[in-house]
Symmetry: C2
Subunit: 296 residues, 2 copies
């Protein structure tokens, strides 16, 4: 019993005739006979009553007909589901991003992409660089945007955007009109730090170590769990902090915050498009990558 034989069987039932069915499927009448015979030997019973004028299914044939229709319908459904997916118009896309990309880069992209392809469902996971990279490696996510490179050979990465981090102070701060300060001056101010896993804070520490600044002299006034809290902290004069400009563009535009660079400190970093080296990317994912590269 295969789909082809079932298709022939269904055609005979619907045409009520072997020869009419054979014309319809562009087969010879004996070929149709052979296939029906094969089905009948397979099930060990008559499936069609050849009544002379017409051919009608037996009870067993009627049962098989019902199932056969279902299977053929399911085949059709499969075909069109695959076509839809491969025509990158339908399906789902699983992506991931570390804090900054997930908060400030990807949402815009997802919005634009959804407008272009409304039948694509996008699921975004937020996690730290390590989590996202591992998920991409394992195929749980098709694409990630993270703030650090990895040495894993199963991963390919591509620089997506350059991110400049700056010292951020409230509008009324004594430095609110300066464009830069020394690193030493920063250490004298109450500072809002980020938690251990934060990519932003890792970059800050790394750049300080690179500039041979004694990191132990850092005395954070408070440590906060996410970017938004830090911004709120600055606005409420808890302290100042070093943040991605991407994360504060809005507040800078409103004039409620001011950003300035820190002398001697290289606070630039990159966000990387992160993909599995060997796994095949879906057409939807390819399309999304195009979007990312084009619209940034």
């Amino acid at each position: 019993m295969d789909l082809w034989q079932l298709h022939i069987f269904v055609s005979v039932v619907e045409q009520k005739s072997f020869s009419r069915a054979s014309e319809l499927i562009h087969l010879s009448q004996p070929t149709v006979s052979t296939h029906i015979k094969e089905l009948e030997t397979h099930f060990q019973c008559r499936l069609l009553d050849r009544l002379g004028k017409v051919t009608e299914p037996t009870r067993a044939g009627a049962i098989l007909y019902g199932y056969a229709k279902q299977m053929l319908a399911l085949k059709q459904e499969t075909q069109s589901a695959m076509l839809d997916f491969l025509g990158h118009t339908k399906g789902q896309l699983l992506i991931g991003g570390s804090t900054i990309p997930a908060g400030y880069i990807l949402p815009k992209m997802i919005g634009a992409f959804k407008t272009a392809f409304p039948d694509v469902s996008i699921f975004m996971t937020v996690g730290d660089t390590g989590q996202i990279t591992r998920a991409v490696k394992d195929g749980e996510l098709e694409l990630g945007v993270v703030g650090a490179r990895t040495s894993d050979p199963d991963i390919v990465q591509e620089k997506l955007v350059e991110d400049e981090m700056k010292l951020v102070v409230p509008a009324g701060h004594e430095w609110a009109h300066r464009t830069s300060v020394t690193c030493k001056a920063v250490l004298s101010q109450p500072l809002i730090a980020r938690e251990q896993g934060s990519g932003t804070w890792k970059t800050v520490i790394a750049s300080m170590e690179k500039a041979r600044v004694d990191v132990s002299r850092l005395a954070p006034a408070v440590t906060m769990g996410n970017c938004v809290s830090v911004i709120q902290g600055i606005l409420n004069n808890v302290g100042i902090s070093i943040l991605s400009t991407i994360a504060v563009t809005e507040e800078l535009a409103k004039g409620r915050l001011h950003a300035l660079s820190v002398e001697d400190l290289d606070l630039s970093r990159n966000f990387y498009l992160t993909l599995s080296r060997k796994r095949t990317r879906s057409p939807i994912c390819e399309k999304f990558i195009q979007f990312l590269k084009d619209q940034i």
Copy 2:
């Protein structure tokens, strides 16, 4: 794309390996490769990522896998549905009977059959001989039990039971202790007749004509639409009637009615098992025919 290829594909996905899958299905590894390749060219995309250690489905492959599982499950379902039906343990049986068989013969049979095969659903249609015979001819019913033969060459009939009709009088009637009366005597009594289409009444009229009794002398006190009404009529002294003994066995046993034969009148008739000559009978139907023949 056929079921065999989908089966191979599913096996590779589940085994995460071409070679392990090939062992499982008892095929060579190159044969598995060929089939997967064929699926991939059919859908114009990669379905499996050969990652070296393991093989995992691509997004497209994952979609196909879902559908493939459904199709294979449906195939299994088809197989077992056919087996159940052919093992005459499950399914439905459509039968029909004219008034007396449907009222007094078939219900007993259906009860016994349902006990033996509880998973069989039986649907019984009641109609006159002509209706039931036509439905059997057209395959709407698989089996009928009717009170008359037909000349239709598409129908085969077999005598199932002999039915004796008798004159039925109430317990207190003047003939309540007689075993027979003359036909002439019957004509002098108030008689309950049956409607036009009734097989019972047709038989009564036919036997009278055969005995050269002047049928026009029949003056029914009342005409009733069904057997049960006639019995009630007799019990309430509306008149007497000629009925199938099969239909009054219960009342005779209770002693509320008395049956006697009519001299000169041959009131015997047969009920016939009625089947389509050319249509294949389901195993359930064959089994039911056995039941009918054995238990009568």
